[in-house]
């Protein structure tokens, strides 16, 4: 079947994929390798991509990896410069698994960075390939003198992505947090995405990044505090919880004044009507809480006592409001339970 008309590429592509599976079996590698290698340098791009993917799967097998000749590494490295995206994408997926020779490492890293930089801003085109390329280049750079420079380049590439993709990459590559530009990249990624449909996605990743931000030294976050406030305000009025999360990060870093800005905006945007009053009062309570801690941090006991008194009066108002208006807010639930 292998000797079939080379024009029938689809047959060869399927056979290549099957051969990749067969080669994992004990004693089959030597038989399958010549076919796989000829597919790697074949005329059809789909066949080449299938061969790279087959080798990628073989490289993941512990018992097989050591038996593969160096020619395979060369073939996968060469596939990075293929003119067809399908082959390059498969090579990016595989490159992290091969042991690239030291003399070729810099070239491969440059190639991977170039691939990622080219496609990073092209949303929905080759997201997986960009992700593989970034991971591959970081793996190759790990422990080398260029590691920090590569990480800085990776951050620049992430900066060129949309917020949705950038959040994903930064959340996956948390070791980038040691890079000086990491805070700026995270703050940029946390901005609302240009596509409204993507804005409410990846909340878990965003929270992870916010938590990491909150663990940084305050002076590192200082230049971006106002931008974080803007990000928090962009969630209002619909997603106050997200704004409170940013407020929490700022307060934990000691930026109480900025946290207060968020609380004040929530209070301002919450109408003082029967249905919304509990939200408004609780927002006022949080504002008083931020005031209290700000006063404590400033060492101003008088202000601290005043803030506590204000906080207490809001608490009393909440209790009064709950008592007076609970039935009005839930008119269909009887105010008492039958005995």
């Amino acid at each position: 079947m292998w000797a079939t008309d080379p024009e029938i590429a689809s047959t060869r592509r399927e056979l290549t994929a099957i051969l990749g599976g067969v080669a994992k079996e004990q004693g089959s590698l030597a038989t399958a390798l010549p076919y796989l290698y000829s597919a790697l340098v074949g005329a059809d791009q789909a066949v080449r991509a299938a061969a790279v993917s087959a080798f990628s799967a073989l490289l993941e097998e512990d018992g097989v990896r050591d038996q593969l000749p160096e020619l395979v590494t060369e073939g996968i490295v060469n596939a990075l410069t293929d003119k067809y995206l399908i082959v390059v994408a498969a090579a990016c997926d595989a490159i992290g698994l091969v042991d690239v020779p030291a003399d070729k490492r810099v070239d491969v890293m440059n190639q991977l960075l170039a691939i990622a930089a080219t496609y990073a801003s092209q949303r929905y085109t080759a997201d997986r390939m960009v992700s593989d390329a970034l991971e591959g280049v970081r793996r190759l750079a790990r422990g080398t003198p260029v590691e920090s420079r590569v990480d800085a380049s990776v951050l620049r590439i992430i900066d060129s992505m949309g917020s949705y993709e950038a959040v994903q990459q930064l959340s996956r590559m948390r070791s980038l947090a040691t890079e000086p530009a990491w805070v700026a990249s995270v703050v940029k990624a946390l901005r609302p995405d240009s596509d409204p449909q993507l804005r409410r996605l990846r909340d878990d990743d965003k929270e992870r990044l916010l938590r990491l931000l909150g663990e940084q030294p305050p002076e590192r976050v200082a230049p971006h505090v106002q931008e974080l406030v803007s990000i928090a305000l962009s969630h209002l009025p619909q997603r106050a919880y997200k704004a409170w999360q940013v407020g929490d990060v700022l307060a934990s870093l000691g930026y109480f004044a900025e946290a207060k800005q968020i609380a004040e905006k929530v209070v301002e945007l919450t109408p003082d009507v029967l249905a919304a009053r509990p939200y408004r009062l609780r927002a006022q309570q949080i504002l008083a809480c931020f005031d209290t801690e700000a006063a404590a941090a400033a060492g101003n006991e008088t202000t601290l006592a005043d803030a506590l008194a204000r906080w207490e009066s809001i608490g009393q108002e909440i209790a009064r409001d709950d008592e007076e208006n609970e039935h009005a807010r839930r008119p269909f639930i009887p105010p008492y339970l039958p005995e």
Binding site: G247, G254, R282, A283, I286, C289, A296, W311, A319
Partner: protein, 500 residues
């Protein structure tokens, strides 16, 4: 809505008050300990190394310091024990700090308390703690996820203390077959129940392990004696006998309890493996469908599978399913062996539905409760009872095997999803030509579980009860007229060819 912060306010106010009292020299150890307890209830207060936890530790340290001077005044034999305790608590806090970020005044107070040399230094520490902001943590985003700190009052664990033993693995088999719940037994039959036990480590003094079976069934109805397994053994047997039948579709739970026997007492131990199972009765003489023992057993097995996969399936819907499926089985048994059906030409689905509707509406358990033509998921259902939908299919050309039902089951599963009743019925009339005789109807029923969108292992799987009704069999005597491949006269073939 954000949480009400009133309790946090109380804690914050008390904290300020007690620290002011320390500063003025009027604080009591009880007050400090009480406020420390309140602080430990704040988010992060139970996480070792967190700033909130550290405030609690330093308050407890201050509680020691404030007892130092009175101890000197009361000629305490060893007043320095309070100083040492205060130092120790502050040192513990500093050691646990790790990479946690503490406000500067908090770190200063901790360092000062860790090396406190005079009771008066408590005032400076209180000043520092007043100037310490507590992280507000309005949301749970910044609540640390570190390990929880042990309460300070907890005594170190005594390795010789009487700890509860490790759980034992208990596996049961009935007549050498692994037990499946519900276990269907025939009344008044004797069954051998074998318990195999694996314990990671027997308590040193344990002599034996007892397994008891607890049930609401009275001992006069259920005989299932406890099992005693000696220390050297791994299994033991007992006999099970149910003296009487349980109601159809009803099962009773039996809970296992294990106890280690010691020379001077007993100790309960938790069971893993089979800690409980259900028992149901199966009597071929009374089981439904009546006088179809193999089918009734298969139906009981199906109900067991349903209970295992959807334990919270509403009981009334389970009842509707049983009533409907049992009636369909009776119809199927009649249809398979109905020679009149074999005389008819192709049976359209509308005729099949009409025929089935007639059977179901004359069933005294169903009658007028039968529904059909409901709008579900944008489609129209064929038949149903309560919330259980029946989808009907007719296959004319090819023999329908149980696996073939896979291609039809998505439709009833979709209906079931809309009704939020993940149990539906698929009834396929196999109208193809027959070359071999039928098997027991029990072979033509069972569950199919369709793949569901976006779910690999759904918590609430959709289950389609499949019933294949093969019809158009020749007369039994016709089989004798053939040598190997089938009867010489197939009625439909003959009909198509016309009279010879």
């Amino acid at each position: 809505m954000p949480a009400d912060l009133s309790s946090r306010h109380t804690c914050r106010s008390e904290l300020l008050a007690v620290l002011r009292a320390v500063r003025s020299g009027s604080a009591s150890a009880e007050h400090l300990d009480r406020v420390a307890g309140m602080v430990s209830g704040l988010p992060g207060g139970a996480v070792e190394g967190d700033a909130v936890w550290a405030v609690e530790q330093l308050l407890r340290s201050l509680a020691m310091v404030v007892q130092w001077t009175p101890a000197i005044a009361q000629a305490d034999a060893n007043p320095l024990r309070f100083r040492d305790a205060a130092r120790y608590l502050a040192t513990v806090a500093l050691t646990a700090r790790g990479t946690n970020r503490w406000p500067t005044p908090l770190a200063t107070a901790a360092e000062k308390l860790a090396s406190i040399a005079s009771p008066d230094e408590a005032r400076t520490c209180a000043e520092q703690l007043i100037a310490t902001p507590l992280p507000p943590r309005v949301t749970d985003l910044m609540v640390p996820r570190g390990r929880r700190a042990p309460a300070i009052e907890v005594e170190p664990e005594d390795p010789t203390a009487d700890a509860s033993p490790a759980p034992v693995l208990v596996l049961l088999s009935v007549n050498d077959q692994p037990l499946q719940s519900p276990l269907a037994v025939q009344p008044n039959y004797l069954y051998t129940v074998t318990a195999r036990v694996r314990a990671p480590a027997w308590p040193p003094d344990a002599v034996a392990l007892h397994i008891e079976f607890m049930s609401i069934l009275p001992s006069a109805s259920l005989e299932l004696a406890p099992i005693r397994i000696d220390r050297s053994a791994e299994s033991a047997t007992t006999m099970l006998q149910l003296r009487g039948a349980l109601a159809v579709g009803r099962s009773e739970e039996i809970i296992l309890r294990a106890t280690y026997e010691f020379s001077d007492g007993k100790q309960h131990v938790r069971i893993v493996g089979i800690p409980r199972f259900r028992i149901a009765t199966f009597d071929p003489a009374t089981a439904l469908p009546r006088n179809m023992p193999m089918v009734a057993q298969a139906l009981l097995d199906m109900l067991g599978e349903l209970d295992a996969k959807l334990p919270r399936f509403p009981r009334e819907d389970r009842g509707s399913f049983f009533t409907l499926f049992e009636s369909l089985l009776r119809y199927a048994q009649g249809a398979i062996h109905d020679t009149q059906l074999a005389q008819r030409d192709r049976i359209p689905e509308a005729d099949f539905r009409r025929d089935l509707r007639r059977h179901l509406t004359t069933d005294r358990e169903i009658g007028g409760a039968l529904v059909g033509g409901q709008q579900l998921g944008g489609g129209i259902t064929d038949l149903g009872l309560g919330n259980i939908v029946v989808e009907l299919k007719v296959e004319h050309e090819r023999t329908v095997t149980f696996d073939d039902s896979l291609r039809y089951m998505n439709q009833p599963a979709h209906y079931g999803a809309h009704a939020d009743r993940p149990v539906t019925i698929l009834c396929i009339l196999d109208d193809s030509e027959k070359n071999t005789p039928p098997g027991s109807l029990a072979n033509y029923i069972g569950w199919q579980v369709p793949s569901l969108h976006g779910l690999l292992d759904p918590r609430f799987p959709s289950m389609v009860a499949v019933l294949i009704v093969p019809i158009r069999f020749p007369l039994p005597s016709d089989w004798s007229a053939t040598r190997s491949t089938g009867p010489t006269r197939n009625r439909r073939t003959q009909r198509r060819r016309g009279p010879s």
